[in-house]
């Protein structure tokens, strides 16, 4: 036991060497000063400056900035009239797009001779690029040569442009089934009553059906730019 008491002063000296009072204070002081300088710097120059000005989310946009988008969708009159009162549901298909441009086709085609030859169109309809199985398909697989105001199913049945989904459904059966049940495609109106569908051709150009990429609306504003003045600070820096 006596040996233990002898060693005690030795231990005490060791711990003094390990952390000598004045130098440890100096180290702490240096760390403290540098940390507070860093904090000060980040307060003065920080905040808005941490995000690159082209990173997105520095400016707040609202619906009024996009007048070209119809946020209040206008319903078809018959859907509006049907309302939610109709328990069976009235389904209306929106007017075919083809009606906007050329329809009725017979205005021109009635007087034209039918040319069944497969060829590149130059005089008219030269804007149509066929990218829909173009090796296997051409105009008269869907269009009817004798009466251009009608489309032609594989079994020879003639249908109007407003029934074009039957034509598409001949090949795209699973999508057609989803569309009929309201899973594929947009519906508008009343979830418990009258509603309108869109035709396949409203979203997919039948001649090149892949959905075209569109421009996104701007991202939400980042939290540090919620204040209107934050954006002005960014503008000043630039």
């Amino acid at each position: 036991m006596a040996g233990d008491f002898d060693e005690q002063p030795q231990n005490a000296r060791d711990s003094r060497d390990l952390l000598p009072g004045s130098s440890s204070l100096a180290v702490l002081l240096i760390v403290f000063i540098s940390l507070s300088l860093l904090t000060l710097f980040s307060i003065v120059h920080g905040g808005a400056g941490h995000v690159a000005s082209d990173a997105g989310g520095t400016r707040a946009f609202g619906p009024a900035d996009f007048p070209e988008i119809e946020f209040d969708r206008t319903l078809l009159p018959e859907v509006e009239a049907g309302g939610s009162a109709d328990p069976e549901g009235v389904y209306r298909v929106r007017r075919p797009l083809a009606y906007e441009d050329y329809y009725p086709c017979s205005d021109c085609h009635a007087d034209l001779e039918v040319n069944l030859e497969r060829r590149e169109l130059v005089e008219m309809h030269d804007d149509i690029v066929l990218n829909h199985g173009s090796k296997e398909r051409w105009c008269f697989d869907c269009h009817n040569p004798e009466d251009r105001d009608r489309l032609r199913l594989a079994n020879g049945e003639l249908i109007g442009f407003d029934e074009s989904y039957r034509l598409c459904g001949q090949c795209h059966g699973t999508i057609f089934r989803d569309w009929r049940e309201g899973i594929h495609g947009r519906r508008e109106g009343y979830w418990n009553g009258a509603k309108s569908y869109q035709l396949c051709a409203h979203c997919h150009n039948p001649h090149a059906p892949r959905f075209q990429a569109i421009e996104p609306l701007p991202p939400p504003v980042r939290p540090q730019f919620l204040r209107a003045e934050a954006q002005e600070e960014v503008d000043d820096d630039e």
Binding site: A60, G62, I183, W191, A213, I214, L226
Partner: protein, 314 residues
């Protein structure tokens, strides 16, 4: 007995007691006057304010009181925005439980829904509040919420290596936000919509930290909405302009859906990725997609049991 109180130092002699009583009545009078002045100035600031402080929860009120409150709200909002604003409290329909479907195979991340929602639900423009947040995810990584970003800004969407996951209130069957609210200002309605009574919310934001989907948002100021952009057809629990200092969130467009209309985000979606209907109706789109498609919910391990279903149509 050495006390510092000058009234008590000389013991109970008649004159001193008199001044003591005088002081008490003086204090009482002063207090009453101050309270009257405070209440008068508060009442002067906003007519409905004191009334709103004193009344009980909206759902517990009688039909007449509700009508009075809606009337007062309509007058206040119409005056503030300089146009006719209506506030309804359309009740839930019988035999209806709302469900929402979102086809993440279709969503292109164009954010039309985000801004249609702002337009429809009178969210604050400045400071900005968005109820819908569209998350961009790498196809390679799959659904990885921690690595996703809401601030993507490419020229065109969809980008070839990404897919998009819009997130708003999931209208949970076991909502954590409702459980934590200390004043019962938020609850589940019979049709499944989790609503907030903005006049009862104390702005403690416990629900915001409880919500695992980041679906709740706080009004740091009086909402900044230009009067010409106000959507005047509103619901008490839904899109009426909220006061300063309360929490708000998606209500499945309660003012539309309780009258049979689709929510605004469903109708605006250019790819038709958003589906809405009655979960209890066998003929509804929701039942069809839940029968026929591969469906999942977000963060199912938390057992919140959302009514918002993501699915792959193809």
């Amino acid at each position: 007995m050495m006390m510092s109180d000058p009234d008590r130092r000389h013991g109970p002699d008649e004159g001193k007691v008199e001044t003591s009583v005088d002081r008490r009545s003086l204090l009482i009078n002063a207090g009453l006057t101050t309270m009257a002045a405070v209440s008068a100035s508060v009442a002067g600031a906003s007519s409905g304010f004191v009334e709103r402080l004193l009344r009980t929860r909206f759902v517990e009120l009688s039909a007449e009181r509700k009508a009075e409150i809606l009337d007062a709200l309509e007058r206040e909002l119409s005056e503030r925005y300089g146009r006719e604003v209506t506030v309804a409290d359309t009740p839930p329909m019988d035999g209806v439980e709302f469900g929402y479907g979102l086809d993440i195979a279709r969503c292109v991340g164009c954010r039309r829904c985000v801004y249609a929602c702002v337009h429809e639900n009178n969210q604050s423009r400045d400071p900005q509040i968005h109820w819908i947040r569209v998350l961009r995810m790498e196809k390679q990584r799959g659904i990885e919420l921690a690595e996703s970003t809401a601030y993507y800004e490419p020229e065109k969407v969809p980008e070839p290596d990404a897919f998009y996951l819009p997130v708003a209130c999931q209208q949970c069957r076991k909502p954590a936000c409702v459980k934590v609210c200390p004043v019962k200002a938020t609850w589940q309605e019979p049709d499944g919509i989790v609503v907030i009574d903005s006049d009862w919310c104390i702005g403690c934001r416990c629900c915001m930290s409880a919500c695992p989907y980041g679906a709740r948002h706080f009004n740091w100021t009086e909402p900044g909405i230009p009067s010409e952009e106000i959507k005047p057809d509103t619901h008490y629990f839904g899109n009426r302009p909220r006061p300063n200092g309360v929490v708000e969130k998606c209500t499945f467009c309660i003012h539309r859906t309780r009258k049979g209309r689709y929510p605004a985000c469903v109708e605006i979606c250019p790819v038709g990725a958003r589906k809405f209907g009655n979960l209890l109706d066998e003929q509804s789109e929701m039942q069809y997609l839940m029968r026929e498609k591969r469906v999942f919910v977000l963060k199912e391990d938390l057992n919140t049991q959302p009514r918002f279903y993501y699915f792959y149509a193809t």
